[in-house]
């Protein structure tokens, strides 16, 4: 049951094949069993069970709220959740319990979803590995998969080999691990430079970054206000579309959401791609790209072509500037956004009471890790009067050029762009930490961050396993506010590639019952 699509589970719930409480308990039990993954910072067991009870009542009356009623979900710990600790994986917010729900969280709760807990991340969403949080790193469930271990000729139950576990990617690694390990069906992440798409690719999931302005950021603790969006992690493209349909739309509390009414996100079944034009940006052919990813990318392009689509090479000439541009604008906004963490109104406050200034300094030194402090210092440097013109303004201009690159390409008749999501598959943690956070971020975000600079929608779809048995994903980038078209194409592609399900049953007893070939012939699905 836990490996099914939202529609299938929803149908099963409606038909009484399983109850919300049973579903909830299965997921809670799995969370306990997979605690070593460190995917969750907070598990809201009591709340989830209570929500399950209410959902059950609704189903009994035949009054389910929709496809998400009674469905376990998880939320990245940088979304404000009322009454549930929200830490952003930082000492600064340990013990901080917000008094309000983020708009997207509220929307999901209003649909009857069961909140299993808050997931782990890089501190304040700064990082591409989910390794630099105050609660420790997140482990990629694929480290324990049959597919991976077979290739490494490891015995499945060999605990000693755990030292070489793989990263999930980041910064929404906890959310990715939570979905990948079947502890929930949907998880919210955030995406500022690729933080939803990157872990999705490494964990074999669908990672959707909606268009900027489509989904409310109210309650999402910001990293870069002009680039952040709530991200959606699921196992299937259809599921991501369902959730997007529930979340998209104007929020009066977020002045950057568009006012236009939002079209529903039911995805048509695409059968004919002959009218599509797929763009392959030539600047994304980087020497650092692993051979396997390169080969898969090529294969995907060939697939579209063989099915009748037009596949052309396009140019995004300012691609090489996107890293520095992103770095300047990101650190500047970070420096500004982090200014509120002074220990006065909420969060961590140090013990010093010599003076207010001393209190600020000690609180912020104790509360933030090196990554955050480094970015604050850089950002403040760029915002100094004497530097503002040369750095910040320049970066804004470059940002406009990068955004225009995409506009020009889409105006020339291209429907979507097809690119890799990451340079290679997930690496072991011990290898990842050999380089520092900013080096890794600069490397790993290369395919994803330009999309945030331009505010476009993008989705990472899992394609195939590498020679090591690890997932590789590819990215589709769409025109602004053409999220539905983007997902329609992604869904077609997903069906074609038939990405395999993660096999964890030999490692965990529980999984065998989860992934037995359950026959759902009795479940009727409405299309």
């Amino acid at each position: 049951m836990l490996g099914r699509t939202l529609r299938e589970v929803s149908a099963a719930l409606k038909q009484g094949q399983i109850t919300p409480t049973e579903l909830c308990q299965k997921c809670l039990s799995l969370i306990k069993k997979t605690k070593f993954l460190n995917a969750y910072i907070t598990v809201s067991e009591e709340m989830a069970l209570k929500q399950a009870e209410e959902s059950e009542k609704r189903y009994k009356k035949g009054q389910s709220l929709g496809d998400l009623d009674g469905i376990p979900i998880a939320v990245k710990d940088n979304f404000s959740t009322s009454g549930i600790e929200t830490t952003c994986a930082s000492n600064m917010l340990k013990g901080y319990v917000p008094p309000y729900n983020a708009t997207v969280v509220q929307k999901l709760l209003d649909q009857g979803a069961l909140l299993m807990g808050k997931t782990n991340l890089d501190e304040f969403a700064m990082g591409s590995g989910s390794t630099d949080g105050a609660f420790g790193p997140v482990k990629n469930p694929w480290s324990y998969s049959k597919q991976y271990r077979e290739k490494r000729q490891q015995k499945p139950h060999d605990e000693k080999e755990d030292s070489n576990w793989l990263i999930t990617g980041g910064s929404s690694g906890g959310s990715a691990a939570a979905v990948s390990a079947f502890t929930c069906f949907v998880a919210l992440g955030s995406d500022t430079g690729g933080s939803t798409r990157n872990p999705a690719a490494h964990c074999g999931l669908v990672g959707l970054k909606p268009s900027y302005g489509l989904v409310s950021r109210h309650g999402l603790i910001p990293l870069v206000n002009s680039m952040d969006v709530p991200g959606i992690l699921t196992r299937y493209v259809e599921d991501a579309a369902i959730v997007l349909g529930m979340l998209a739309g104007h929020d009066p509390r977020d002045s950057t959401t568009v006012q236009d009414p939002v079209k529903p996100f039911t995805l048509p079944i695409l059968t004919d791609v002959s009218k599509l034009c797929i763009g392959i940006p030539k600047e994304y052919h980087l020497p650092e790209l692993s051979n396997e990813v390169r080969a898969l990318w090529s294969k995907a392009a060939d697939l579209f072509e063989s099915e009748g689509a037009k596949v052309i090479e396009v140019s995004l000439p300012h691609t090489s500037f996107s890293i520095v541009c992103y770095h300047i604008l990101c650190t500047s906004e970070v420096a500004s956004n982090m200014a509120r963490f002074d220990g006065l109104e909420y969060g961590h406050r140090c013990d010093t009471d010599v003076s207010t200034e001393a209190m600020y300094a000690a609180t912020r030194r104790e509360g933030f890790n090196d990554v955050v402090r480094g970015r604050i210092l850089s950002g403040n440097f760029f915002l100094l009067k004497e530097n503002y013109e040369n750095y910040f303004i320049k970066a804004q201009k470059v940002r406009r050029l990068i955004a225009n690159d995409f506009v020009n390409v889409f105006n020339s008749g291209v429907d979507v762009l097809l690119t890799p999501t990451t340079l290679r598959e997930a690496v072991p943690y011990l290898e990842f930490i050999k380089e520092d956070n900013s080096t890794r971020s600069a490397q790993d975000d290369i395919f994803t961050q330009a999309v945030n600079l331009a505010g476009l929608p993008a989705v990472s779809v899992p394609v195939a396993l590498s020679n090591q048995g690890l997932p590789i994903g590819l990215q589709f980038i769409g025109r602004a506010f053409y999220d539905q078209q983007l997902l329609t194409i992604a869904k077609w592609f997903e069906k074609k590639v038939q990405f395999p399900v993660i096999q964890l049953q030999e490692f965990m007893d529980d999984y065998s019952s989860v992934l037995k070939n359950e026959k759902l012939t009795s479940v009727s699905l409405k299309q």
């Binding site: 603790i221 915002l383 100094l384």
Partner: protein, 444 residues
């Protein structure tokens, strides 16, 4: 450092100490004779009354003073500039604080329409050009009463620019000549007010009340077109009357709804402007003119004795009657201005420019519609009183100045024709009295 600085800064005390210093200086090897001569000269000069720009100092080069003002007026609105919490004076501490005001992470600003209208009205009343597109910025500094660590203001492109404020000063010996002056309005910008901090030195703690944090302010920037405390105070008074007539601010100084910062410098006529100091938080008319005149005098004395003016921020010590440097503001602050990313550009429309199709009406502010609703401004009221009732111009000023706030003269609700004539007559008859508000020229 504060205590010794205080003594040196104060004009009165300085006179006494200057003599001591003269002797000290000569002992330290400063040119003898000349130093003490200068000191004696200073003390004799110091006996003279505070002068205005019209009266050059004896035996010295002429000095001209320029005064610019930054006036913060709290917008009269039900809720704050970017959040829905109420605006109310003297409420229990921290009882009017929304999540956004407390800077809880994840909260976002939402612009209050009434505040925008208030800014447009004020801009129109001050003959400003209203920018159809204006932008919001973050101004960063750390202070206990600024929860977010930055203030949202309009630094790059404010809502209104290039206006004028006309006021009249009383000149001459019996001070009955009304002379019109104009101060250029550089700009009007919307910005957030900060909270209040109360320093409890006894317990070494600061108490922070965020009720005021986020209340909408109109900052009106006047170019350095004024030349003395009197002119500045009169200009502020006129602005206060205008704001009250418009209803955009109650502008009650006692309740902190109108606060003035003055930028003051002195120079020799014909030479470039001198280094300016900023005197902050002048919160009563009584001390506004006094503080400015003191600062002008202090700068002149400083320069004449070979010193230099630091580009610093000072505050006015009411008890001692002098300006003192503000300890917290040593050195120039870099506010690291950055565009506010959570607020798109503010777009206003008029009859000639319509909003995009499908824009909700609550999102549209039409400048021409607002212009139509402007009430009668004080200047027009005074002219009407003079025209209709034959009142002396200076009496029309007195009448408007001394009436209570918010009194709507255009409806003549307070006085009937008969009463106005009686008042006029009474004022006309009593020519020995100065018709100008004496509160501006009161002795300290």
């Amino acid at each position: 450092m504060a205590a010794p600085m205080l003594r040196w800064g104060c004009l009165g005390r300085r006179r006494a100490l200057a003599l001591v210093d003269g002797r000290t200086r000569s002992r330290r090897g400063a040119p003898t004779g000349s130093a003490s001569d200068r000191i004696r000269e200073q003390s004799s000069v110091a006996q003279q009354p505070v002068h205005t720009a019209q009266e050059p100092r004896k035996g010295e080069h002429k000095w001209a003073a320029v005064v610019g003002l930054e006036i913060h007026a709290q917008i009269s609105s039900n809720s704050k500039l970017f959040s829905g919490s109420q605006v109310r004076f003297a409420a229990p501490p921290n009882s009017l604080v929304s999540f956004f005001d407390a800077s809880l992470p994840g909260t976002l600003p939402v612009l209050n329409r009434r505040c925008v209208e208030a800014a447009v009205m004020t801009g129109l009343a001050l003959n400003c050009h209203i920018n159809k597109k204006s932008l919001f910025d973050r101004k960063h500094y750390f202070y206990a009463d600024l929860p977010a660590g930055y203030q949202i203001t309009q630094q790059r492109l404010p809502i209104a620019v290039n206006g004028s404020l006309t006021y009249s000063v009383c000149l001459g010996k019996p001070r009955n000549q009304m002379v019109t002056r104009t101060a250029r309005v550089k700009q009007i910008q919307l910005e957030q007010d900060s909270g209040k901090s109360l320093h409890d030195d006894l317990r070494s703690q600061t108490l922070v009340d965020l009720n005021r944090a986020g209340v909408g302010l109109l900052e009106v920037v006047l170019e350095p077109d004024m030349s003395c405390g009197d002119e500045a105070a009169t200009a502020v008074r006129e602005l206060q009357l205008i704001l009250q007539a418009l209803g955009t601010s109650q502008a009650n100084m006692a309740e902190g709804q109108l606060r003035v910062d003055a930028n003051i410098s002195v120079h020799h006529p014909g030479e470039p402007l001198g280094i300016r100091t900023e005197v902050k938080n002048l919160n009563s008319f009584r001390f506004l003119a006094k503080a400015i005149d003191y600062e002008i005098e202090r700068q002149i004395n400083e320069l004449e004795s070979g010193g230099e003016i630091l580009n610093e921020t000072r505050s006015f010590d009411y008890k001692l009657g002098c300006t003192v440097p503000m300890r917290d503001k040593e050195g120039k602050q870099d506010y690291r201005f950055m565009p506010e990313p959570n607020l798109p550009p503010l777009r206003l429309y008029d009859d000639a420019s319509s909003p995009p199709a499908g824009t909700a009406s609550q999102q549209v502010v039409n400048i021409d519609r607002i212009r139509e609703t402007l009430p009668e401004l004080p200047g027009v009221t005074r002219e009407r009183l003079v025209r209709q009732y034959g009142m002396l111009p200076e009496h029309s000023f007195t009448l408007l100045w001394y009436t209570c706030c918010g009194c709507n003269w255009s409806h003549g609700c307070v006085l009937t024709d008969l009463t106005v004539s009686q008042v006029s007559g009474a004022l006309n008859a009593d020519t020995r009295q100065s018709p100008c508000p004496t509160m501006l020229t009161q002795d300290p």
